[in-house]
Symmetry: C2
Subunit: 192 residues, 2 copies
DNA sequence: GTATTACGCTACGACACGTAGCGTAGCGAA
DNA sequence: TTCGCTACGCTACGTGTCGTAGCGTAATAC
């Protein structure tokens, strides 16, 4: 997805090296954070050459996105027929993803490096944010149709409330404690 | 505050140079963003020597915090006797500060560089976040005492809702349009 | 005037960047 | 098996930034 496409002829890339680079990226991200992550350190830890990393990923951002893809995979909000159930799933998806330290590090890097690495931001938005937000908006709209939310409910606003609150607690305040947060937000949005 | 203290004897520091460095820092922050901000570029634009900048600020973070101090000065929430009025002021303080591009850039840098520059984070928290959050919590507690909020209101949670929602819209989504946001959040929190 | 410090300049070693070129290794196809 | 192709590890290069040191000079306090 984010890696440079290899040729189909000739010597194929080593899958073992590929995984070693991604694993080194993850562990270094956790230890040093995104700004201090260097390609040199990744290659050294992966036991490969610096040039090999450059041959496979165009930018540090692309490498990091691939290395943390599973941590960022928030999914989409399902349609199970109940507003509260669907939004409950949405909130658990949010809290689980935002509480993941690797995911939090990468999300902050995406936002803080908008100017420097627009590819990273574009990929993240289109692959992760857009699908989730679209499905979450659909869930809210179904809630309006069912009468669980007022007819004039401001969907984008409610999405900002939901996402912003979880982001604030899990990422900004870095609180691992998110017990009860889901229910509290549900009560607030669905206005009991 | 964040600068290195000069001696009181001998040749004093040039105030003109000081202001030129801070202004160069601000303009470069807006043009390049925090990660791409270099001391070299600041000194060049300020028309001074690179070493002079290093003599006055220990880190890039300290320099940036001083250069943007006025943009980050969110103040504290007053006690005017009315819950809705006080929280309305709090929300305008939030939207005004978070909509400021320089402030947004610096806040993201603070969070994204927690590991690399703990001084920056500590200073920001103690000088900006703590005073505001404490006064905002007090405003909410007065609201509970007055009966404008339920007796079992979760103050830290409500603070995360308020701050998180504004942060999400103004900083993450980078929407300059915050019309009606204040009132919408007030209605949500005060639960009409 | 003299002591003291800030300033501008140059230079240094260190580190990371991204790229190029080399010989070699490993795979697919004829 | 041979041949063609590409990945790989290595070394090296030029660039940019870092933070510091040392110099002579400028500007102030005493």
């Amino acid at each position: 997805m984010t890696a440079i496409e290899p040729s189909r002829r000739g010597r194929p890339r080593s899958q073992r090296t590929h995984e070693a680079i991604l694993e080194a990226t993850r562990s270094l991200l956790l230890e040093k954070g995104y700004p201090a992550l260097t390609i040199d350190a990744v290659a050294a830890r992966a036991g490969t050459a610096r040039t090999t990393v450059y041959r496979r990923w165009a930018t540090k951002g692309a490498l990091v996105l691939e290395a943390t893809a599973e941590h960022l995979a928030i999914g989409i909000v399902p349609d199970a027929g109940s507003t509260r159930t669907d939004l409950g799933v949405a909130l658990r998806q949010l809290t689980a993803t935002f509480s993941d330290r690797l995911a939090a590090i990468v999300m902050l890097a995406v936002i803080a490096n908008l100017d420097e690495d627009p590819f990273m931001a574009r990929t993240f938005r289109s692959e992760i944010v857009y699908p989730w937000r679209t499905s979450a908006a659909a869930a809210l709209e179904r809630g309006v149709a069912r009468g669980d939310l007022p007819p004039d409910a401001d969907i984008p606003f409610l999405l900002d409330v939901i996402v912003g609150t979880v982001f604030q607690r899990a990422v900004i305040n870095a609180q691992s404690e998110t017990d009860g947060l889901d229910e509290a937000i549900l009560d607030l949005v669905l206005a009991r």
